[in-house]
């Protein structure tokens, strides 16, 4: 791959505690355009908390997150989104009272700053581009179903389409394939990898499925009890004895 590694997102010494419990303790890493970076770790390691710190949903106790040099800490989620950071949630969050297509249309409307419209029906605006995005994630056939009735794996795909709708440069995906069948899982990871190649997207994702991680990630970060204990290529991480003891060892 011939890409100029550009530092997209620079995370320095991010810390956050809940009560007395340190959920994230001094995490630093760099995410480059073209990266498909996996953040792995056992349950409760602090992965989702990391994501919430990155997209502004939680405020870190200390540390910094810079996107192309701009400090993100302290900005509300919607600002960070507007700067080009999209995300999907571990516990899916979509607009249950809208159809699949309308969910994506909302994001497109928001991006075009057309949300304050009081006149033209929302359902008629940006429908074509929304359908194109749904086509991409394989949800076009269900475009007019209410989002509230979809299967879990399908909601995850809608979330991906919604995240892509704002044409982000950084994409944060918290367990994007949870609840999917193995074949679907593979397809979604391949789609993600394709987007990374095509658009030079910088993707950070968490995953419990090791095939997804080691089959697709360009680099892997290992988090344990809030601290990064290993970082490197999938092969390096797989071979790391510390990782095997805290994480892979536990699974074997």
């Amino acid at each position: 791959m011939s890409k100029l590694p550009m530092s997209k997102l620079v995370v320095r010494d991010l810390q956050r505690s809940f009560g007395g419990v340190q959920a994230v303790g001094g995490v630093s890493f760099t995410l480059r355009s073209g990266d498909l970076l996996a953040l792995i770790g056992p349950n409760g390691a602090g992965k989702s908390t990391c994501f919430n710190l990155l997209n502004g949903q939680l405020r870190p106790d200390s540390g910094s997150v810079r996107l192309d040099g701009t400090e993100l800490v302290g900005l509300p989620p919607r600002r960070i989104w507007a700067l080009g950071v999209g995300r999907t949630f571990q516990i899916t969050a979509t607009f249950a009272s809208m159809t699949v297509a309308e969910n994506v249309q909302m994001v497109l409307l928001s991006r075009a700053r057309r949300l304050f419209g009081l006149w033209r029906p929302a359902a008629l605006q940006f429908r074509e581009p929304a359908l194109a995005l749904l086509e991409r994630v394989g949800m076009a056939a269900q475009a007019d179903r209410p989002c509230g009735v979809l299967a879990y794996g399908d909601v995850k795909r809608v979330e991906l389409a919604m995240a892509l709708a704002s044409e982000p440069t950084v994409l944060l995906m918290d367990e994007p394939t949870a609840g999917m069948a193995p074949a679907e899982r593979l397809a979604l990871m391949e789609l993600t990898a394709e987007l990374v190649r095509e658009r030079g997207l910088a993707v950070l994702f968490t995953e419990h499925d090791m095939d997804a991680v080691f089959g697709h990630a360009t680099r892997v970060l290992v988090l344990d009890r809030g601290r990064l204990i290993a970082e490197g290529s999938p092969d390096q991480v797989r071979a790391d004895p510390r990782v095997q003891s805290v994480y892979l060892g536990g699974e074997a």
């Binding site: 516990i91 949300l115 304050f116 919604m162």
Partner: protein, 615 residues
């Protein structure tokens, strides 16, 4: 100096009563998560029952205190009965149904009390042995009030012992923290909850019975106290006993000294205090963040349907309505004018509830503000009708702009309480600012311009203005604005993470809904020719909620149908009986008990997808 001391002491006596009542309310809330509107009714009936018993047995100290205790216990029993008969079915309902259902009880109890004790105010006898007053720094102070002052901390202490030193109390605290866990411990939650209602309502009854020697027993006691108790509970932190105690003390003093400084607006002071506390300390003085769990949404989450031919149906209906004056007489036209106005009122509330998931318990504020705006413009500025009508939505919109800024900062129950507080502020102003608003007497002589004076002409005007506004509201509901509002309701998290400033949309919706309600209010003022403080009162807000509920929350046309049915019911059926509160209360209770089953189909889809997500 001594005068100030006595003032402070009388503030303490007020605080003691407030604490007795609100401790019950907060205990019930802590365990059941229901804000019991009917709590004030137990206070009122406690006072009536206490009065009867004291009249008969209260000649001796033992008889007096025995009567007070008996009245309190009787209220406990009634509270337990309400838990078994009503609340039990509402624990899993959205807060809207809980508030409305218990308000239905308020109405029923009002009529039953009037039936049992008559409409006259009752003056009770003084407490034997405590009739005099003692001098405190040369100022006389009633002995009985001193006893009350002591009673507050005493009850707090007893409750503390109950909750910390008895098995039952420990179980209740466990249930407060975690309902599911308590039932896993082998506690029968049903019995526990019944017991808690007994305790809570007995405390309310105690507070009521203790008032007999102090003030007249009246049919207005229930609303007055419950709204104050709401303030105490919200200020103290919902579910916190110590918080209720602290808040009672503060509010007692605020009232005692407020009356010296701003005698006209003591009520306003209390509600402003609450609004400020909530903005500075969102969970109240001593409340904790997790005290209020997210409740089930009051709204169904299926796509709103535009309906293929709605436009043509609406036009046909409009044409039909416009033709009515050709055949109908004046009486029918008056009725229909009111229906059309109320339809706009209900639809404006539906914008908040149905799209934003914002259950406002004080929507009458904007209706009334519009009505008063028009009336004041006519009365004090001699404005012609068109100008006065234009002023209605503007004034109401401005009011909603200010209040909305506070209200949308909080969601769920706190939002409901805040809207209620602002409605009470508006009501207090209309009620107490005699020089401008005429107080209780209202403002009379608000008649339409001569060109609109005929019943048919005014009807057509109303139809045009309301129809036009309804159409605008409907467009807004299906436009990106309405979708953004729904997005914030469906998932605030997702909305914020795709660039939607949820609070801003809610604020805008609040203002829009307020202005629309204001226009309805202005039209109402001219239709009636007068305005009264009741237009801003809680029952008016509840009427709007009932209209929205009756019509069904899930459709944009629902509130219109609700307004028709409700108003016809109220003016045609309920006017046949003196006991219309009883009838309305029963209708409301029936609605909330039957309706959740009606929307189960909608909710179950939501619930099962939620369960799947958790799995």
């Amino acid at each position: 100096m001594s005068f100030l001391l006595v003032q402070a002491l009388s503030g303490l006596a007020t605080a003691a009563t407030l604490f007795l009542v609100s401790s019950g309310l907060t205990i019930v809330f802590g365990v059941t998560r229901i804000v019991n509107f009917a709590h004030g009714s137990f206070y009122m009936v406690g006072a009536y029952a206490g009065w009867s018993l004291i009249e008969r047995f209260g000649g001796t100290p033992a008889g007096f205190w025995g009567s007070v205790t008996a009245a309190a216990l009787a209220m406990g029993v009634l509270g337990a009965a309400m838990e078994i008969g009503l609340l039990r079915r509402l624990y899993r309902s959205p807060e809207l149904f809980q508030l409305l259902g218990t308000f239905g009880v308020v109405l029923v109890v009002q009529d039953l009390t009037a039936w049992a004790w008559g409409p006259e105010d009752l003056l009770g006898r003084r407490a034997p042995g405590l009739k005099g007053s003692i001098d405190i720094l040369d100022q006389p102070f009633p002995l009985y009030d001193l006893v009350l002052i002591g009673l507050g901390p005493l009850v707090l202490g007893l409750l503390w012992l109950l909750f910390n030193r008895t098995r039952w109390g420990t179980l209740v605290r466990a249930a407060t923290q975690d309902r599911e866990m308590a039932s896993a411990l082998g506690v029968d939650p049903a019995r526990l909850f019944t017991g808690v209602l007994f305790l809570g309502c007995a405390l309310a009854g105690l507070g009521g019975a203790l008032q007999v020697p102090r003030e007249a027993v009246t049919l207005q006691m229930d609303m007055a106290i419950v709204v104050e108790a709401f303030v105490v509970v919200v200020v103290g932190g919902m579910g916190s006993l110590a918080g209720a105690f602290l808040a009672s003390l503060l509010i007692g003093q605020l009232q005692a000294f407020g009356i010296l400084v701003f005698p006209q607006i003591t009520l306003v002071l209390v509600f402003l205090f609450m609004a400020v506390v909530l903005v500075l300390r969102p969970h109240g003085l001593l409340g904790r963040a997790e005290e209020v769990p997210p409740t089930a949404p009051a709204t169904v989450t299926v796509p709103l349907s535009t309906g293929g031919h709605t436009g043509s149906w609406a036009l046909a209906l409009l044409a039909l309505l416009a033709a009515v004056p050709l055949v109908a007489g004046d009486y029918a036209l008056i009725l229909l004018t009111e229906v059309v106005i109320l339809a706009l009122f209900a639809a404006s509330l539906h914008l908040l509830i149905g799209l934003g998931g914002l259950v406002s318990f004080g929507h009458a504020a904007w209706f009334g503000l519009g009505a008063y705006g028009s009336a004041l413009l006519v009365k004090h500025m001699g404005a012609p009708m068109p100008l006065a009508l234009a002023g209605a939505p503007v004034l109401a919109g401005l009011g909603a702009l200010v209040a909305g800024w506070f209200c949308v900062r909080r969601s769920g129950l706190y939002f409901a309480m805040l809207t209620l507080a602002f409605a009470q502020i508006a009501w207090s102003i209309a009620f107490q600012w005699y020089a401008v608003t005429g107080g209780d007497n209202g403002i009379l002589g608000v008649w339409p311009s001569s060109w609109a004076a005929g019943k048919a002409a005014y009807y057509w005007l109303t139809l045009a203005l309301c129809g036009g506004t309804l159409w605008l509201l409907r467009r807004a509901a299906f436009a990106p604005f309405g979708y953004a509002l729904r997005a914030g309701r469906d998932s605030g998290l997702r909305a914020e993470s795709v660039g939607i400033d949820v609070r801003r949309f809610q604020w805008m919706a609040f203002v829009l809904a307020g202005s629309a309600a204001g226009l309805a209010g202005g039209l109402y003022a001219f239709a009636k020719g007068s305005v009264f403080p009741t237009l801003l009162a809680v029952p008016q807000s509840v009427d709007a909620l009932v209209m929205v509920l009756m019509g069904g929350i899930q459709t944009v046309a629902g509130p219109l149908a609700g307004a028709v049915v409700f108003h016809l019911l109220k003016s045609e059926v309920m006017s046949l009986t003196d006991w219309w509160r009883l009838v309305l209360g029963l209708i409301i209770v029936a609605l909330v008990l039957v309706f959740p089953r009606g929307i189960v189909g909608f909710l179950s889809g939501l619930r099962s997808s939620f369960v799947r997500r958790r799995a």
